[in-house]
């Protein structure tokens, strides 16, 4: 299908919650789980703090992919902050598509503090997918 652009180095911005996914990324590091160097992580305290506008802004600024990730449903450090984002995301992803943005540029996952291995796999896969999609056209315009 899509051609994989090997020389393209996707820029991924992660917006992750402090208690689960950020901690999971720490665990991946402590366990020396290797992944391609494409993910930068912006830390917020809770999944509930994530706003669709943050994702849009990152895409507008040229991020090739945005990873939004928080605790599993039921695991939230703040009881149910993540649920609010959990409800918003499907709608948001639909909206993105209508705006002409490939919704595959946004990956929405739940990664716990002990799931460094899962996060590593998610990033590997995301990088592969983004290489198929190619660079963010908004970034090319710069």
């Amino acid at each position: 299908m899509a051609e994989v652009k090997e020389d393209f180095d996707p820029y991924i911005l992660g917006i992750c919650c402090n208690w689960c996914t950020y901690a999971g990324a720490d665990q991946a590091g402590t366990s020396r789980m290797q992944r391609p160097a494409n993910l930068r992580i912006l830390r917020v305290m809770c999944g509930g703090r994530m706003e669709p506008l943050m994702v849009i802004q990152a895409l507008k600024n040229g991020a090739d992919g945005v990873l939004v990730s928080h605790c599993h449903v039921g695991d939230c450090h703040y009881v149910e902050g993540n649920l609010k984002t959990f409800r918003k995301m499907p709608l948001f992803l639909k909206m993105l598509e209508q705006f002409g943005v490939n919704p595959k540029r946004v990956k929405y996952t739940q990664v716990s503090a002990s799931e460094g291995a899962e996060l590593t796999e998610i990033v590997k896969e995301f990088v592969k997918e983004l290489k198929e999609i190619g660079p963010n056209p908004l970034r090319m315009e710069e």
Partner: protein, 668 residues
């Protein structure tokens, strides 16, 4: 171009790049990173040092602040989850507001995950430093909130872990609410016969402690109770405890047992794992504490015999008793809920539940117990004769790497199988006893000696190899085939009985407890500690601690050690009397709030109320835990979360992505 803080002071940022020995500098070219850092907006200086967290590193920062060279600090090092508190203290001690600090994670999120990609790691490190600077430019000084810590602890689970933690805390002078869901305290240890490696009788060392717990004035024992709800925060948890109805007034009951004698309903006895029987009116075991009776309503036929004055002289029977809810306020919580035994029924190849002579190690424990259903004389279930050839199979439900199975080692089965094998040989020296194992793990004090002696002095045969096939003969004896991996040959043995050494699992309801306490579970399903080495009894939720098998499989010595550790951590917090909480609460900007109330229903902590006169939302900062959900949702941008404001987050997003042209040439 330069920003200002409080009055007209210019923003002067100091960036400190940590080598972390070779952990960072071995991968990332920290000299290039330091030079790059100097080019960022409002950066006055950038320095590199081997270990920023060392006292020399800390002094470097302090000196620069004291000399007026900088007034904000970025440290690019490990995860902020590791050293943010360290560097905030440094900044505070140098006289700056500690929230004018930002840590860039260039170790866990850069060097350690890109060990073979120096360029890639450098690229991530630069982006993280740039984002930190962007945020730092927007940061505002904040005041730490001190909250009082109630000198009272809630302990959930009264197994050996919960009991020891309670005793320690009570003796230190703290009030303890010890909540146990069963009608008695003691936990699983009460069901064990002897304990490895010293072979002391479990009941003999446990029951005196149970009595101590009951007698201790500071311990408010609540058996047959469960935690129904937990609200609040560190130092100030509001807990609702549900006392289940005993259907017997516990104050009036004298424990005479007449109700149980007269009760006509006979049912399976959980304490004996169903091997023995009890009545619907019962006491779990004779030494149970409290020694009062309970009626099992799921079994009771409401005949009313026990309620007659001839039977219950003190008139304690209350067949219409209702659950009672009790509210308590505590400063700290310890979860010590223990374990469930792995159920081997799903491993069809071993025939548990199908072949009568295949039993679990826990059942064997009851068969061997001198106060168990067989008074310590194990027999094979099919014909009630003592087995001549007895086998144990190790790692049942542990160390299994198939999807959905328990990968971890349960850490007690090698030793308990050896213990049980030895106990059987002591009673039946003529019997042959085999232990089929994967590896023998005899790691504790005196364990290796115990294992050695089992082979040498008791002639127990250890065979390294899992059982591959198992058949049942007509007489219910079992044929097992295994590979002896030392001799590299197939063996076939006829056993009279096989004991499956089942592993320990997280409690089936541990999910509920975790979400009640908002604590995390590790991938094995046990409660997760805040740090695997340095904070083994803390959780990520301040004020909540874990102990015993609830945290991970362990034997009694380790359980007791951890319980004492958890008690000490809780006591430290309560002795300090105050706890500093991060001021990440949200604030409503009055002029912007339109009074739509959409934030109110989103708050998980009911921290948002509505001021009907001003027609605006009001956030109670003591109740707000700082998730920022309201700030994300406010349609008028009227809510600001401290330290994670839109200005701060969007500043990061806006600098996070370097323009393409720059990254391709010279941007690095």
């Amino acid at each position: 171009m330069s920003k200002t803080i409080n009055n007209d002071e210019e923003v002067k940022i100091g960036i400190y790049i940590c080598d972390c020995g070779i952990n960072i500098a071995g991968v990332i070219d920290t000299t290039t990173l330091t030079e790059y850092a100097k080019t960022l907006p409002n950066v006055s200086l950038a320095k590199e040092y081997t270990f920023m967290c060392s006292s020399i590193g800390q002094e470097m920062i302090k000196e620069d602040i004291n000399e007026g060279l900088i007034n904000r600090v970025v440290v690019a090092a490990c995860s902020p989850r590791m050293h943010e508190p360290t560097f905030r203290t440094v900044v505070r001690e140098a006289g700056l507001n500690e929230f004018l600090f930002e840590q860039a994670n260039i170790r866990e999120h850069a060097s350690w995950v890109n060990l073979d990609d120096s360029e890639g790691a450098l690229k991530i490190a630069k982006d993280h430093v740039r984002m930190a600077v962007a945020k730092l430019n927007e940061l505002k000084p904040l005041e730490v909130e001190l909250v009082k810590v109630e000198p009272t602890c809630l302990i959930i689970g009264a197994g050996i872990a919960g009991m020891y933690a309670s005793l320690d805390l009570a003796q230190e002078g703290y009030d303890v609410y010890l909540v146990e869901k069963e009608p008695t305290i003691g936990g699983h240890m009460a069901q064990l016969d002897k304990t490895f490696p010293t072979m002391d009788c479990s009941a003999c060392i446990l029951t005196p402690k149970m009595v101590d717990v009951e007698r201790e004035e500071k311990i408010h024992l609540m058996t047959y109770s469960e935690v129904d709800n937990v609200d609040g925060y560190v130092g100030n948890f509001d807990v609702t405890i549900k006392k289940k109805p005993h259907y017997i007034d516990q104050e009036a009951c004298t424990g005479c047992g007449a109700c149980a004698i007269e009760c006509p309903v006979i049912c399976g006895n959980e304490f004996e794992l169903g091997i023995g029987t009890r009545k619907a009116a019962y006491i779990p075991f004779p030494q149970a504490i409290p020694g009062k009776y309970t009626i099992d309503m799921t079994k009771c036929i409401k005949c009313g015999i026990c309620a007659s004055p001839d039977v219950c002289e003190p008139d304690a029977i209350r067949l219409d008793q209702k659950p009672e809810y009790i509210d308590v306020k505590v400063g700290t919580i310890i979860a010590a809920t223990g374990w469930d035994l792995y159920d081997p029924t799903e491993l069809k190849q071993y025939g548990y539940g199908k072949y009568p002579n295949v039993i679990t190690g826990f059942e064997m424990e009851r068969l061997l117990s001198s106060y168990g259903p067989l008074e310590g004389k194990p027999v094979r279930p099919s014909d009630l004769k003592p087995p001549h050839v007895l086998g144990f199979l190790q790692c049942v439900g542990s160390r299994d790497f198939r999807p959905g199975k328990n990968k971890y080692c349960s850490r007690v089965c090698c030793m308990y199988a050896t213990k049980q094998a030895r106990q059987y040989k002591e009673k039946h020296p003529e019997a042959s006893v085999y232990i089929f194992y994967t590896d023998i793990r005899a790691f504790g004090k005196g364990y290796e000696e115990f294992y050695e002696s089992a082979g040498e002095n008791f002639n127990i045969k250890f065979i390294r190899g899992r059982i591959g096939e198992l058949y049942e003969n007509k007489d219910h004896s079992l044929i097992v085939r295994a590979e002896d991996t030392f001799l590299q040959k197939q063996i076939e043995i006829k056993l009279d009985m096989l004991v499956l050494s089942c592993g320990l699992e997280p409690r089936h309801d541990s999910d509920q407890i975790a979400s009640l306490l908002t604590i995390q579970k590790s991938s094995d399903g046990f409660f997760m500690e805040a740090h695997p080495k340095l904070r083994p009894v803390d959780t990520l939720t301040s004020g909540i601690f874990i102990a015993g098998v609830a945290q991970g499989p362990k034997d009694i010595p380790d359980t007791v050690a951890q319980a004492k550790g958890a008690a000490s951590s809780a006591a430290t917090l309560m002795a300090m009397g105050e706890f500093a909480i991060e001021p990440y609460y949200s604030i409503v900007l009055e002029q912007k709030c339109s009074g739509c109330k959409s934030c109110q229903s989103l708050c998980p902590f009911n921290a948002i109320s509505f001021d009907v006169i001003k027609n605006i939302a009001v956030i109670n900062k003591a109740l707000c835990k700082g998730c920022g959900t309201c700030a994300a949702a406010c349609p008028s941008d009227a809510i600001v979360q401290n330290h994670f404001s839109d200005d701060q987050i969007f500043a990061m997003i806006n600098t996070a992505i370097p323009p393409l042209a720059k990254t391709e040439n010279g941007g690095k």
